[in-house]
Symmetry: D2
């Protein structure tokens, strides 16, 4: 209820602060009998890890994950899986100033007003560092979904600040620090270099999708698959907008265009983004999210201090000038966690149902 | 877990089908001692009611709400409030055809694949008619929030299909069937008339906002206030996108522009849309949603039948050519339900906290 | 969260008051495709119904159940099933006195202190009448469990006030108003007659059991099958104690006696009562509960009024002199609701597991 | 949902296995601003710790607790508190035999049948060692309840196998290894010595109570305070029965005796055990539980092996001959966790209610 557990049947409880001794999560509800070791989880953590290019925070964290429970002789036992990641490169002194002032656009202010006190070191609990345990949990979810249903997840950057990024190929995504689906990212690097020099930050737009999603996932009224995806995505730090399928473009589409025709071979198009009535169609889930610019910047901003008096704030320390750059593996993980939750729900209530419509496959 | 309950502390369990004997909901967790009668709820239901103009479905439902429990001598008792709305104008024969085919863009297909059977009469459970009980529950939530914190909710249409609607004044909203914040809606009426003639449908963009929201609502990691709003909005039939504050526009904003400056008199701007780190700032909550065009149209569409064979479908019967027209009171209700949920959560965990920063008010 | 929903995957939300227009429940999560009509539910309601002998309350309620939603063409659709039972024989004037005083042993006092107000008519929400919707929901659960796993439920009275009732045969249970497993209940009738003449009430002990429960149901640490049974039973009005299997007798058993030996044909005994480590063994679930004497009696009792001043109270009106007499079908229903909840949970997480130990059957 | 989280508003997620690297829990929902350090938690852990007398398991664990998150500068921040306890004295080789056979009365069998595999080392997840994190979490709950409401918790042993233990004084409880409220425990020591020599085990009955509980805690229908207590107690390893107040003795009480009279100075007696209608009266909560004899004993028992073949099992290794001996601090912790959960729920829904009946105090 205090917002630190994600999911109900595949429930991930997240703990830790940016500058505490460790961060981590407990996964409750993982099906038993799946082979699992740290090496299954580490690659996704490495994709999210800071310090891998000059365009992200220079904090050096190895983000090595340790499985504390729930696995015996290399297999999940069905009991809680505790994943621990030690913090190793805290420099809390960097944050002395911001303990008494509020960064415009940052959770500093609201944490203090909500709880009456806060841990200001590195943003404490509000740090995007807390997405690391979700990436770890997402890797567990991805593995199970892959083995059980053949479901796969991928994502890429669609826009970096003012720069739209056309989709060329998924193959390019792993070859650049932006998760951009293009071969040449020199202009993105130049864009980021100039932004850093200006002491400013920018936003980004990220696409994430899932293939091989079984038909029938999602609850009809409130826990619609797309509603839970929207909840998961908006829960990622700095996200301000979420679209499923055609998204806001559907406002200007006619019904005769928007509705995806069905054929014996599957759907002809995917304006729906993989859900109808909140339930998966079997098509690819297609999600796009807006990420706002980082609030921790070197440019001086007008603000107040903890006594409510006018002042200015400049944020030094180590920060991502565009948190969107590392957001792709995070969004993939969140999507995977939503899908596994609904896969388990589906077999709870509807485990005896065989989808009756025999179209060749549910997706094209 | 099967997606028919909204909220945990102020939990609204929705039941019924479009053509069953009745629809309704049970509210569990309403604080006791609040004056409540049907007349407190009916006005919002009347705003959502079908048949009030030629631009919406011609189904004639009075949507009279009946309080079955939870109120004694005119006051809430803290026990479940059951709200019942009788269906009176079902014409199930209208739907004979669609029992064997699937409307592109409609939940027909996914309901059948998920459950193995479905109630096709009027869309059954997937009908937007099921938003009526939420509007009723939302009216209860609005009343409590108004009396306790002075919180108020309002919404309006921002775009109708291809037609953007500039914001002129909240005063215009109740004076036209579109909830448009403009004085003259003749061009919107003409647009809808031509659409109906074409046997087609269109989407819409709706804005909804809340004023007088206490600071500190929302949980930090996963049940962020904005994440729960996104979940609630994406749960409304036909919604494909959700924005909070600057939304997708934040992608191209610089950090030095996006972050709202704080002053002793409150925030200088509201790009955040009323939340930072998932927690309310005390500013207005600002939400915008994309609603797709209706899938039930007279234009013939390619589809398959329940044996998976190619066919075409034309949807007769009574349908809204733009479900967005009646979406404003629905979105307001959903926003109110999210806010009351978090208001109750906040006093559960943080009931002893006095927000320490003494800025004059938390919002401008 | 306000305690009116039972279960998560098979969630039953209960509403109504003793003297309101109706009581009922909404079942969310029922698997689809099961044949269901009112006639499947009514027999259990009739077993619980008041007015069927001189030993129970003389309130005349038919307790006719009406299915308002969730069933289409005679089959469950997987959407919420609303069950409605009209109240027809309210006589609220009977309760004028108790609006201002508190019956010792009754929830009058705590409802008022908790909520600040209460509905005193017939006990309002605290009336045992609210178990009727649970019996109805339990009938749905029983039907599904019977069809899916062959699980059956039954119960009987073990003690009536001072009178122990030896177990003779299940066959006798339906043949007397006490659910007593004995052929001759004349002494029980005499006992009740004398109690009524004395203007007093008595307690009872009830046994309830389930056969054909699949092995593996129940969560290991907190939602143990026996823990959830204890929760469900203690949630029935007037229950003060719960035992599983040997119960309190296990305190004086040695480990070498208590632990049930396993054989290739199943367990040799059932001190466990059907669970080990909170997980079903496949043996019969065996539960025993203590029900306290009714607090609404003609004998004058010392108490206070709503101003806190000393007074006496005598309760007229229509009351069960032993609520335990009608408790058997209630306890069966609650047990069935716990079992179906865990059956659905089990296939959510462990749907791929085949119990590996090939003993002939899990129970003898 | 998989049963490893206790509570909703004060949610404790438990992880770990008896012979894994560590056990622990994450507390989500602790109110902020409370002073908290390891020294606040350790004393209760020390009361539960193994190896403190010859009558309990000789496993040597210091059970030192480490706070990994949720506390900043000595105060709770309102974010998740992760408590970690390292396992240091695992001797997994002791358990080689029981990996292939099932101890009668033990969860060995059901874990394997439920999950298809299990961690047999020290009982894995089913070990009573997993109560240690609950004792730690309970210490946090106790501290908050003490500071906020003056609530206190205590418990004692009422019976050890065949030996009833009369209540003399709470003062004796800390002075003997049995938590017995008597001055001289020589006969209990002799009893245990003879039991150990016999290679057998025994059960126990434990009483636990809470004083200074605010009136009004507990939900009326299903999450009754006593129902949640029953759930919590039955969730402790080896518990087979739970009583509230008069418990099973209420079966033979008359209504004119059982119902506790109210006076302007409070209730005259406490047969209710502190709850009426599932809601706290303000009197002491009084709970009694039955603990079965340990299933790990030296006496040979008939059983089957994992192929379902007849065999015998003798359990060596280090075990408590009576798990009830260390159960008192566990039961106290579980009771405290139930009370804090309901204290937070109460102010969520009923935070504006002032209990209207002005009796001098709610308890005598």
């Amino acid at each position: 209820m205090s917002g630190n557990t994600f999911g109900v049947l595949f429930a991930v409880t997240n703990f830790g602060e940016s500058h505490g001794p460790a961060i981590g999560c407990v996964i409750d509800g993982c099906p038993p009998g799946m082979a699992l070791c740290e090496a299954d989880i580490q690659p996704d953590l490495d994709r999210r890890r800071p310090g891998t290019s000059r365009h992200v925070t220079q904090r050096r964290e190895e983000d090595k994950v340790e499985i504390l429970s729930g696995v015996h002789e290399g297999k999940t036992t069905g009991t809680p899986i505790c994943l621990l990641i030690r913090n190793t490169d805290q420099r809390s002194k960097d944050y002395g100033d911001i303990a008494r002032t509020f960064r415009p656009g940052h959770a500093d202010f609201t944490y203090l007003q909500k709880y009456g006190l806060r841990d200001p070191r590195g943003g404490g609990r509000s740090s995007a560092r807390l997405t690391a345990p979700m990436v770890a949990a997402g890797a567990v979810a991805k593995k199970w979904l892959k083995e059980k249903y053949g479901t796969t997840f991928r994502g890429c950057m669609q826009q970096l600040g003012d720069v739209p990024i056309p989709f060329e190929s998924w193959d390019h995504v792993p070859n650049n620090p932006f998760f951009a689906p293009i071969a040449d990212v020199a202009h993105l690097e130049a864009y980021m270099d100039s932004l850093r020099k200006a002491g400013d930050s920018c936003g980004a737009r990220i696409r994430v999708s899932a293939s091989g999603v079984p038909v029938g996932l999602g609850e009809p009224l409130f826990d619609k698959l797309d509603a839970d995806i929207a909840w998961a995505m908006m829960g990622i730090n700095a996200v301000k907008g979420v679209e499923i399928g055609a998204g806001f473009a559907s406002v200007t589409q006619r019904g005769s265009v928007h509705g995806d025709s069905l054929t014996p071979q599957g759907f002809a198009t995917n304006n729906a983004g993989g859900t109808l009535g909140g339930i998966s169609t079997g098509q690819d889930l297609e999600v796009s999210i807006a990420i706002k610019p980082t609030s921790s910047i070197l440019t001086p901003r007008d603000t107040v201090d903890i006594e409510g008096q006018s002042t200015q704030v400049v944020t030094k320390g180590r920060h991502d000038p565009c948190v969107g750059i590392r957001a792709t593996p995070i969004a993939e993980a969140m999507l995977a966690l939503v899908v596994i939750e609904h896969a388990l729900r589906q077999r709870a209530q509807n485990g005896d149902v065989v989808p009756p419509v025999p179209i060749e496959s549910s997706f094209l």
